[in-house]
Each structure stands twice: as structure tokens, then as C-alpha cells.
């Protein structure tokens, strides 16, 4: 029986140690990070304080971007796309222009779900909003990636779009603009209208941008390498 208690105690202590050592301690270190301004200021007491009136980073996502964030999760984008920029000696993230600086914990504090990702079948998206600023490009890319990046392994998401016959009564203001002579373009009489979900997802993507300074991480690369 003595043997058994030692066994139970060991089983307990091992997982506790790893929980305390890895999770509790990082909760303690990172649990209180707040937004910051791009520059800090010395006050009279000699502390560094936020500059009043400066925008706070990382910015909070707008309502629409927040919906897009949820769409991103729903569609499982995280299975092929990362949102993190590693330091120089670990890979060519900076050189490839995935961001102008490495990412740090503070970049993620305003996100409901942190989508660091684990696989790069597709490119990193942490600054995709700075690289690809065109709304129509993103919509086309979601509608069928073969239009914008032929040979891509990304699946198309046609269910995020509505196909409508062009007539005088249908509103086609926000219909997708296809490049001339693309084999994937629909017939002339048909318009592809993005649904709210597609708009929200693209809004989220356009807002992904880590190219701001934080006290602990300063933009180093100035060429986006696009």
C-alpha cells in the first residue's frame, strides 16, 4: 500500500510541476499586458508612461472584423495559415515580408482567439492587410484562388458568394470584378455577389497588420518584400 501512495503522489506531482512551471508562471508574466502607444514618455517621477492621445496598439478589432475573425475560425483557415513572424535565424519570415518585425505576446491581447497556427501550406497572414490592400483581390482569392494565384493548394469558397443573373432589378454594385479573359470568370450575364460573411472575412484580413512599434518590438524591416 505504501508503494501505491508513492505512485499516486508521483503521478500527481509530475503534472502539477509542469502546470505550475509552464502555465502558471507564464500566466503570471503575461496575464497583465496592456495596449501601448508607439512611443513612451518619461514623466516627472522617471517612469515611462503612455503618450496621451496617441493611438493604442494593438488596435481593437472592429465589429465587422470580429465577425470575420469568427469566419476565419469556422472555415478552419488556421489549418494552413499561421499568424506569427519568427526571428531571423529561425526562418525567412522577415525576408519574405510576412511582417516588418517579429511578433510578440502583446500583439495578440485584443484577439478573442489566438490563431498562431501550426502549418504553412499557405503563407503567413499576420500582416496580410499591409501586403494585399485590395478588397476585390481578396474576394476573388476566396471565390477561387486559381484566379489570383494559379496553382495554389487553397480550396475555393464559392459558398461565401451568391450568383445572380444580371437584370435591371438586381443590385450588382459590389459584384466581383474579374480580370479580363480569365478562364474562371463567369458568363457576362452573371454577377458574383459576396455575402456578408465574405465581406466580414476580408475586412478581418485587411485589418491584419503588425507593422506598428511596441516598446518591446520595433519595426526593423522597411521593405515589405512584396
Amino acid at each position: 500500500m505504501n508503494h501505491f501512495s508513492i505512485l499516486l503522489f508521483g503521478i500527481f506531482i509530475i503534472l502539477t510541476s509542469s502546470f505550475l512551471g509552464l502555465i502558471s508562471s507564464s500566466l503570471n508574466q503575461l496575464g497583465n499586458l496592456k495596449q501601448s502607444t508607439e512611443t513612451l514618455e518619461l514623466n516627472d517621477a522617471g517612469d515611462l508612461i503612455l503618450v496621451e492621445g496617441d493611438p493604442l496598439y494593438p488596435m481593437k478589432l472592429s465589429g465587422l472584423s470580429e465577425q470575420g475573425h469568427l469566419e476565419y475560425i469556422k472555415l478552419g483557415c488556421v489549418n494552413c495559415h499561421t499568424q506569427q513572424v519568427r526571428r531571423e535565424e529561425l526562418g525567412k519570415d522577415l525576408e519574405r515580408g510576412f511582417g516588418q518585425r517579429v511578433t510578440v505576446p502583446r500583439d495578440y491581447i485584443m484577439q478573442a482567439n489566438v490563431l498562431l497556427g501550426y502549418s504553412r501550406i499557405g503563407p503567413d497572414l499576420s500582416s496580410v492587410g499591409a501586403r494585399k490592400t485590395d478588397l476585390n483581390w481578396h474576394l476573388l482569392h476566396l471565390y477561387n484562388p486559381q484566379i489570383t494565384s494559379p496553382g495554389s493548394l487553397m480550396p475555393p469558397f464559392p459558398f461565401l458568394f451568391e450568383t445572380v443573373e444580371i437584370s435591371e432589378t438586381t443590385a450588382t454594385d459590389n459584384a466581383l470584378v474579374f480580370p479580363e479573359g480569365n478562364p474562371y470568370s463567369p458568363k457576362d450575364s452573371i454577377a458574383i455577389i459576396p455575402t456578408k460573411r465574405a465581406i466580414a472575412l476580408v475586412e478581418y484580413l485587411l485589418n491584419l497588420d503588425i507593422n506598428y512599434n511596441l516598446p518591446e518590438a520595433v519595426v526593423t524591416k522597411n521593405d515589405t518584400g512584396e
Binding site: 503575461l30 472555415l75 535565424e89 526562418g91 525567412k92 519574405r96 495578440y108 504553412r120 499557405g122 495554389s152
Partner: protein
Amino acid sequence: MSQLSTESRYDSLNAIDSSINKAAFYFIISAITWLILSSLFAVIGGVKTISPNFLSTYEGFTFGRIQAMLNSTLIMGWCSNAIFAVAFWIMARLSKTPIKHGGILLIAGIIWNIALTLGLLGIFIGDATAYTWMEFPRYTSGIFLLAYTLVAVWGIIAYRHKQNDYSYVSQWYILGGLLWFPWIFVIGQFFINWFPVRGVLQSIVHAWYINNVFYLWLCPIALGACYYFIPKLSNTPIRSYHMSSLAFWTFVLFASWSGMTYLIGAPVPVWLTTTSIVFAISLAIPTLIFYVNLIGTAFGNFSQLKSNLALKFITFGSVAFVLHLIIKMGLSVSSIDAVARFTLIYEAHHWQLIYGFFSMIFFGAFYYLVPTLLNHPFKSFFLPNLHFVLSAIGIVFLLIALYLGGWQQGTQYNTAELSFLEIAQNLSLWMQLKLVGLSILFIANLLFAFNITALLLSKLLDALPSFSKDKLNQNT
């Protein structure tokens, strides 16, 4: 060797076996069902990486959701059900206690599978969480927990008066695994789904969760099975057995601390990853002992290895496991990580653990367990042997495709002149090989299901005439 007479020992074994029969068969059948389903998802996912337009008009079949359903069915379906089937039986055998109140286990199993079914439907309609290997929607986590609580209740009821002799290392691994799992599960769900922590803390908890589900839930149970079956089937005591307790303590300690290697280069304080790297490298110690203990013993009695089907599976699994740990050590070296990170290599590494190690061990265990529980041996070993050959070929194919493809992907990624699109296109050959491997595994799993079902049916057919004969006798 034992004071018990053959007769009484037989009776007690039979009592143990029949005590668990109903629950065990329920778990075996559901494990196999989920296995087939998961390999179907794997094949669909494999096709989609080659031709992205496949099934693309259906939202439920988009690649991300297929991947989420694959992971959930593997971990919560196949692996967990297989564990419930085998772990309790080994425990009962080694502690010589019949399993009482097996009905509670059965109810737990039913609730578990309801949770998983609900979870899969949830993922299908888009309720998956954003965290790999714990994608099942947050509303199902409570049901899983309820099911596992029933298992715990059963454990308390069944063992309350027992002074068990926990002298053999298999019992340590299995007891540990069964106690760790609910804890890991609750911590993961608590900090990510129920009361989410902020920022990258979610990723830290997530990495801890994945790592511990793999190395403190799947691995201990499978290792427990290894330590039970290898000496038993090869009729040889474990070589250098006195080292096995050292292997137990070092493995679980180092493995539980090595989780942050998933976050090398990620935006977390660097001391977290450095600490985990050190513990990952320290896994060399248990790895060496596992090599001598398991592989040394299995190959020590080569004639048994050649003739015994279950032993073949289990030896294959042990070799895959030792290689898996060596690769894990390698992946935590930062210059190797610089190539391997975010490539197919990590996918390969997970497949190697789940298919190469865990599944192979449990295929072997099932091939031993089912005939024993049924008291009905295989008439022909041709199809089971074919299953072994197919599984082995499929796994080797899959792993080679993913490791080599991943290495190519990583080196090309670090060649900045190559555009991202080119790298993805260059992967297509490896993706095709991966699909071939997955398809072979799918066929192998179907064959596995067929073998087990055929055995069950032939037992039923055998039982039928004798039953009617008995009835006849009673009537006259």
C-alpha cells in the same frame, strides 16, 4: 510459478474476462467504427490537398473542417475508445480483480460517443474551435467530462475495498494515464473554452494540452500495453527490467515539461521554449531504456516474433515509438527546427505517434483481446497478416512522403528567391504519395474491421447451433 492450480486460475481469468465482456465489446466496436471514419476523412483531406476543387461547393467538406473532424475522430473516437477497451482489461488482468459494475462503463462509453457524434456534427456546421486536436465544439466538452466522470465513479466503486498490488510497471503507466487525462482535459477546456485566458497564453495552454494528451494520455496507455504484451507474447521477461521504473518517471516528467517545443519561434518568452527544449533532449534517457526494454526483449525471442501476429504489431509500434522520440529530440534542435517548423514534418510526426505507435500497439492488442474474450481463435491468420503488411506499408509510405516532402518544403521556404506559390506547387508529388499512403491505410483499416467482425460473426454462428441444441434438450 503460481500456487494456483490450473483449474482455478482458469476460472478466475474467465471471470475477469467475462466481467468486462459487454463494455469491452462496445468499446472495441465503437473504436473500430471511428477508426474507419477517421481514415475516410483522412483520404478526403488528402484528395483535397491535391485537387482543391474536390467537394469544394459544400461548406461542411472544406479542408479545415475535414481536418478538424479527422483530428477529433482520431483522438476522441479511435484512441480513447481503444484505450477504454484495452486499459481496463489489462488492469483487471494484472490486479486479478474482475471488473464489477461494468454497466457504468457501458453508460460512460455511450455518453462519450454521443458527445463525439454531437461534436462532429458541430464541426460539420462550423462550430469547431480554433485549436488543433481540441476542435470539438465547446458545448461538447461538458458531455465528454460527464462520461469520464462516470468512468471515475466506476473506478471508485469497483476498487474501493481493494488493496491492489501495483508492482508491475504496466499498471503504473495505465493508472497514470487514466488519472492524468481528465486533469489535462479540464485545464485545456478551462483556460481556452470556458474562461479563456488572454493573448498567447491561449497558445501556451494549447501547446501544453496537445503535448500532454499525446505524451501523458496516449503514450502511457500504449506503453502499459507494450510492457504487458511484449513479455507475455514473447515468453521472455523484459530485458533490464529494473531500469523500467526509471524510464517511467523520467519519461512522464520530461515529456510533460517538453510541450513548449511546439512554440519555438512563436511570440512567447524564450525561456519557455528553452526549458522545454532541454526537457525534450533529456528524453534521450527514457528512450534508451525503452529501446532496451521493449525492442530488445521483442527481438530477443525472434521465433515468437515471427509467428505471433499481435507481437508483430506491438514490436512495429515500439520501433516507431523509439524513432518518434528520437525525431522529437531532433526537432527541438533549433537549426533543425528552422527548417521543419510549419512544414509537413510535424504532420508526419503526429501520424507516426498515432498510427505508427499507438494504433499499431492497439491493433495488436485487439488481435489478442478479441479472440481471448470470445474464447474463439482465428481460424486463418492470412487476412490478419495481410492487415499487418498493409498497415506497415501504408505507414512507411505516409511517413516517408511527409518527412521528405516536409524537408523539401522547409529548405525551399528558407530559399527566399522561391515564391510561396512555387513551394506549394512543388509539394504536389509528396501530397500524391501521402494520398497513396492514406489510401493504403484506409484499405488496411477496412480489413481490420472485417477481420474483427468476421471473428465475432463466426463465434455467433458457432454459438447458435449449440444454443438450439440446449434448447432442444430442455424441451425433451
